[in-house]
């Protein structure tokens, strides 16, 4: 049993090396009931980089993000058309279990949402236990590793049994990041992960994103232009015009999008005129 699991991990790593963990969005549209929230979005997310999604409120950034790990369909009446390729497998392909997609694509929400009844340790271990890890030593090791990656270990190592909700907002958000990292996803989605935090905590999360791109593909939604410019390598600008659902206006290297935008509307937005 242990053998096969190790073998699987080795092969996933090699595979990742080769396919490089790309996410390709092709002709993606999304609806909430009859309301169209996203129109024909196509973009290639580069592996091991930070990609920022920017755009005015309501343009569909969160919707796009939630389509990437099939969390969109959790909302009652929400539907999708188009493709999202993870490596080269369509996550919307027939017979693909959303649960297995979500294990490969982790997510961090705008509001920190640790499991209220679980300790710090159990929060981080929740995903591992689900995947069948029971061995105490293995759990301890992975929990510590995830908390270190999330730059939270030093602050909580003496109170791992305390409830996760007893931490500060910024610490809770890093706990949620650790929880997502513990299961070793290929992609990490973050929806305005720092918008509920003070500047110091925000700076920590930003540092973290830059750290994380060494191992993960990071996609982050942000309203903060400086933040997008600081942490991201690529930027996608979405806009919802005359209520038609958000469409991709411009996508490219962050420096280019901010300094030499090709589209008028991008220029207006990044310079604060929209």
């Amino acid at each position: 049993m242990q053998m096969t699991r190790d073998l699987r991990i080795v092969s996933v790593q090699e595979w990742r090396e080769a396919a490089e963990g790309t996410v390709s969005v092709r002709g993606l549209s999304a609806w909430y009931g009859r309301h169209r929230a996203l129109t024909d979005v196509s973009l290639e997310v580069r592996p091991r980089s930070v990609t920022a999604l920017i755009g005015p409120s309501g343009c569909g950034k969160s919707t796009l993000l939630r389509c990437l790990n099939r969390m969109h369909e959790v909302v009652l009446g929400a539907t999708v058309s188009g493709q999202v390729l993870l490596e080269d497998e369509d996550v919307y392909g027939s017979g693909v279990d959303p649960v297995s997609v979500r294990r490969r694509v982790g997510m961090v929400f705008q509001q920190p949402n640790p499991f209220p009844t679980m300790s710090i340790y159990d929060n981080v271990a929740a995903g591992l236990r689900l995947a069948g890890t029971r061995n105490r030593g293995v759990l301890d090791g992975k929990v510590e590793q995830a908390l270190r990656q999330a730059a939270l270990w030093d602050e909580v190592k003496d109170k791992l049994r305390k409830p996760g909700t007893a931490l500060s907002g910024g610490q809770q958000q890093r706990l949620c990041i650790a929880r997502a990292l513990a299961v070793d996803p290929e992609v990490l989605l973050m929806d305005e992960p720092a918008s509920a935090l003070d500047p110091v905590a925000t700076a920590r999360i930003e540092e973290l994103m830059v750290e994380l791109k060494r191992d993960y593909t990071v996609v982050v939604v942000t309203h903060n232009m400086q933040q997008a410019a600081r942490v991201s390598d690529y930027t996608a600008f979405l806009l919802s015009e005359d209520g038609g659902g958000g469409a991709l206006v411009e996508y490219g290297e962050t420096r280019q999008v901010f300094e030499e935008p090709r589209d008028e509307r991008t220029r207006d937005y990044v310079t604060g005129r929209l």
Partner: protein
């Protein structure tokens, strides 16, 4: 000017004292009942009351041990049947049933069931279990009480699950937990105190029920734990003794009333405490 003001002030005072008086009237019966039951019943409470069988007609002494145990068994059977069913129904109403046609229908029917006179529930179980098996039984009584308890648990569970922020459930799903597991491991523990409150309120609701037991559990003058045999219960014993001709029976009935009232009061306090400590 002045006189309008004084008139308004007077009217105001009048209304306020009326409201105050009405509030008093509303609590007076409770206090009166409680005081009366304590006064009349306290004398009958002693060790024998909990350990002895009722003494033969008219003789002094004896107790209601079998009825105390019987009530506990009936409540246990009812809870064992209604808690899992009610909790699962409540989860369905709060989560999977939303946006379907079945969900609102189940909610409506469960509210209707909550309003069905309990004697009708007893009659239904009488037809379902007593006539078919040919015998009154503890099981039939437990089923009747369980049916009465079911909607209480289902609706409080629904409320408790709805109180769990959707962000918590989404966090679990985003981590790759299948829906049933997210419900079991994350949503239910978060809603636990609310659900427990519902179960306790359900127990409080049924422990004083008399009518549905009259023709299901029936009654028993002897010790019995056998679920297939008739069983004694405090409410039915109160009914029988209070309507009987003997002074000693009346005293015992008051004692039983005191025990029952204390039990329900304690359950209600526990439910309050639980829902407040959430």
């Amino acid at each position: 000017m002045i006189s309008t003001y004084r008139r308004r002030k007077l009217a105001n005072m009048l209304m306020l004292s009326l409201l105050g008086a009405a509030a008093l009237v509303a609590v007076v019966p409770l206090i009166a009942v409680a005081a009366y039951v304590v006064l009349e019943g306290a004398g009958a409470i002693n060790l024998d009351f909990f350990t002895q069988l009722p003494s033969p007609a008219g003789e002094a002494g004896g107790g209601m041990g079998n009825a105390v145990v019987g009530t506990l068994e009936l409540v246990a059977i009812a809870s064992a049947l209604a808690t899992p069913t009610g909790v699962m129904a409540g989860i369905y109403l709060a989560q999977q049933g939303r946006g379907t046609r079945l969900g609102p229908l189940v909610r409506l029917l469960s509210d209707v069931l909550n309003g069905v006179p309990t004697i009708v529930v007893g009659l239904f179980v009488y037809g379902l279990l007593v006539l078919t098996t040919g015998s009154f039984s503890a099981l039939a009584g437990g089923v009747a009480l369980g049916v009465i308890m079911l909607p209480v648990i289902a609706r409080t569970t629904e409320e408790a699950v709805l109180q769990v922020p959707s962000s918590v459930r989404e966090a679990a799903l985003a981590l790759g937990l299948p829906e049933w597991r997210a419900t079991l491991r994350v949503v239910l523990p978060t809603a636990r105190s609310g659900i427990l409150t519902g179960v306790i309120l359900g127990v409080a609701r049924i422990s004083g029920e008399t009518a549905p037991l009259l023709f299901t559990a029936f009654g028993n003058s002897f010790w019995s734990l056998d679920p297939t045999k008739p069983i004694a219960s405090l409410p039915v014993q109160i009914y029988n003794f209070a309507t009987g001709p003997y002074e000693s029976w009346h005293r015992q009935a008051w004692g039983a009333a005191l025990v029952l009232m204390t039990m329900v009061l304690a359950l209600n306090l526990a439910a309050r405490w639980l829902s407040r400590s959430r």
